[in-house]
């Protein structure tokens, strides 16, 4: 879907992005992660040609991006940034309708689309449509930013640290919402962040960058288990790696069917992560948990031994 082939970008003598190759499959959420200044934003902005690449090729659906007019290309991709970039002189509704208006959709269709998106992002029409950006909280503004990026239903979504300026609680809830949205909409998303926890939570495909180069890419679990070098390992949290990995695995992967024994008193949902299960065990001094499904019915059990035991089946 998106292919970067030996792409380099120089600013004068400095090389901001150095010979990177990267493929993002249709419907995949790819996260670029790395310390500040490592070239993540430059990489992202080369995809919609806000920055031109110096060398190499970038393809969208197999076609070179230079074959499109810049504006045409950008209107096919959603773009959300940390500062939201909402137009302060436009209402929320008008901001969201920006790209459809650029694409000359009829007014009724734009109106319907704006309503649909506001509902999707949990923004009530009456409360927010007529508000101006400075009247919104950080989280609300960022929701509007995401709605605006989704407005013309683009296949591709480019997001540059969209949740970077939010408080941790708002950030986590927006991360969850993004995952849910993604499960429903199946966009191809390139997401830039310097926050490894955020990267691990969101990524289908994780790309670690350092000084303009890609040092490792793959599924988050692969990176956690086999970091390519010390840099990746330290970025992944060193001693915290076990917990980070546990956070990625659902309880359902390690639980055993209900045995003949009495049900353990403490319960945990099968969708919860192993990290949450471990935390509960520590907190309640319990060595066994009863795993329940969404309707709170017992479906299995998880023991401490099983939780920390050798990985076999994931």
């Amino acid at each position: 879907m998106i292919d970067l082939i030996h792409v380099t970008r120089r600013f004068g003598a400095a090389t901001a992005v150095d010979d990177i190759s990267l493929s993002v499959a249709q419907g995949e959420l790819c996260v670029l992660v790395g310390t500040s200044g490592c070239g993540k934003s430059t990489t992202l902005r080369m995809i919609n040609r806000l920055i031109e690449h110096s060398e190499g090729e970038i393809h969208i659906d197999g076609q070179q991006i230079r074959r499109f007019r810049e504006e045409t290309l950008r209107r096919r991709m959603g773009y959300a940034i940390q500062s939201t970039g909402l137009f302060p002189h436009w209402t929320v509704a008008r901001n969201i309708g920006l790209v459809p208006r650029l694409l000359k959709w009829p007014a009724t269709r734009i109106q319907a689309r704006v309503e649909e998106l506001m509902a999707l992002l949990g923004l009530s029409m009456e409360a927010f449509a007529g508000k101006y950006p400075h009247q919104l909280s950080g989280g609300q503004a960022q929701r509007v930013g995401v709605a605006r990026a989704l407005a013309a239903d683009p296949d591709i979504l480019l997001m540059d640290e969209p949740f970077g300026a939010l408080d941790p609680i708002t950030r986590e809830s927006l991360q969850d919402e993004l995952r849910e949205l993604q499960a429903r909409l199946h966009k191809t998303i390139v997401f830039v962040t310097h926050d490894m926890d955020e990267a691990l939570r969101l990524a289908d495909h994780l790309v670690v960058m350092h000084q303009g180069r890609i040092v490792q890419q793959g599924r988050p679990l692969e990176l956690l288990r086999e970091p390519a070098d010390d840099f990746v390992e330290s970025l992944l949290g060193g001693e915290d790696r076990g917990l980070k990995e546990a956070a990625l695995l659902p309880v359902s992967q390690r639980m055993l069917p209900l045995g003949p024994r009495l049900l353990a008193r403490e319960r945990i949902g099968q969708r919860a992560s192993l990290r949450e299960a471990l935390s509960l065990m520590l907190w309640r001094h319990a060595e066994r948990l009863t795993v329940v499904d969404d309707d709170d019915l017992p479906v299995g059990e998880l023991s401490l031994r099983r939780l920390v035991g050798a990985r076999s089946d994931d």
Partner: protein, 386 residues
């Protein structure tokens, strides 16, 4: 004093006491037998006696009293009082005219006392408007009673007022002078706005233009206006003598052409500077998003950059216009016409009231433009955004 009582409003207190001193101590009117001879000054008690003078100081003392304990309702009362006192000034002139004037040639001049009091009263109104958090529009509405009172008094009793006489002697001339003045200002500001926006856009695109442009405009700004008019005289005179079509257009060494050139020259710097700064100051994130969403350069400029820069650009227009209104008065020296004509005529004839006939409308025009453009700037701020 109760603990929750605010302390005295020092500004208002000082204003009212100084105004009272000016009212009692300075000449409020002067009377001359005819236009040529100098007049004799009359203080308040010369007109209505000591008892009357003391009676007229009561409102001032009341104002000072209200300023001493400035709770909100007292400030509102103070504002009402100031508005009434402002409206009473024309009445005072009328009373003086009726009491003092005895012949048809006699002329009543407005004395220093009245000017000082008028000025202090306006300051007091501004202070009170701010304390009471009233809008600018209401502030302007508050002068209306005084304007109405002045109109009524002029029509009824102020026949001998020297300023009024000067006006009546040349009312046609006065109107056309106002017209000329506005035309010169309008053309100069309009031209410099168009040029200024183009120049500011060019400066943003090419850094070379930016350095050269600001350098040139800064130099231009430092030349004194009379000198600039003088400098333009020779080349323009030569042009009109040698280029027929320019002469046919009315270009010559003196008159409107050099005046306009100089006015545009002076207006350009504030216009360009404000426009440039305004365009630069637009949030980079907003521009990044606009381009990232697929707006073309033209769309970004027209739909995002210009509207967001508009309040600051308008601020530039306001400063430039107020400045041009003043400079145009000087342009009368080289025969450009306008209200400055009366000022220089009056200076030549030592007729201060004629000078006032030119100077007062210039002042009023400047205030009016300032208020109108200020209001427009407020309106253009979307949803009250910063």
């Amino acid at each position: 004093m109760r603990p929750d009582m605010p302390g005295p409003n020092v500004v208002l207190l000082t204003l009212s006491l100084v105004a009272l001193a000016a009212w009692l101590g300075l000449d409020t009117v002067s009377l001359a037998a005819n236009r040529i001879v100098p007049g004799t000054g009359y203080r308040v008690f010369d007109v209505i006696g000591v008892g009357g003078a003391l009676a007229t100081s009561l409102p001032w003392l009341a104002l000072a009293g209200l300023a001493w304990r400035p709770a909100r309702h007292r400030l509102a009362l103070a504002l009402t009082l100031v508005v009434l006192m402002l409206s009473a000034l024309p009445a005072w002139l009328s009373l003086s005219a009726v009491t003092l004037v005895d012949s048809a040639q006699a002329r009543l001049g407005i004395g220093a006392g009245i000017w000082v009091v008028l000025f202090l009263q306006l300051l007091a109104m501004i202070e009170l408007r701010r304390r009471l958090d009233l809008s600018r529009l209401i502030g302007w509405a508050l002068v209306l009673p005084a304007v109405a009172s002045a109109g009524l008094c002029l029509a009824r009793w102020l026949e001998p007022l020297a300023l009024w006489q000067e006006y009546r002697g040349r009312s046609g001339q006065f109107l056309s002078a106002v017209g000329e003045h506005l035309l010169l200002v309008g053309v100069a500001v309009g031209t410099s706005l168009a040029l200024g926006v183009c120049l500011a856009l060019a400066m943003r695109r090419w850094p070379g233009v930016q350095r050269a442009g600001f350098g040139l405009l800064n130099v231009l700004q430092t030349i004194p206006s009379i000198a600039l008019f003088g400098l333009l005289l020779a080349p323009l005179a030569w042009l009109s003598a040698n280029v027929d079509w320019l002469a046919a257009l009315g270009v010559s060494g003196i008159g409107r052409a050099p005046a306009l050139l100089a006015l545009v020259g002076y207006s350009l710097l504030p216009m360009v500077r404000n426009t440039f700064v305004a365009l630069e100051a637009v949030d980079a994130g907003v521009i990044d998003a606009a381009r990232g969403m697929g707006m073309s350069r033209g769309q970004v400029l027209r739909q995002v950059r210009l509207p967001l820069a508009m309040p600051v650009i308008l601020e530039g227009i306001r400063i430039t216009t107020v400045q041009a209104i003043g400079l145009t008065a000087v342009a009368a020296l080289i025969g450009a016409g306008g209200l400055g004509t009366f000022i220089f005529q009056g200076l030549g004839q030592a007729a201060m009231d004629l000078v006032l006939l030119g100077a007062l409308p210039i002042l009023l025009l400047a205030l009016l433009v300032d208020a109108l453009l200020g209001a427009l700037t407020d309106i253009l701020r979307p949803g009250g955004a910063e």
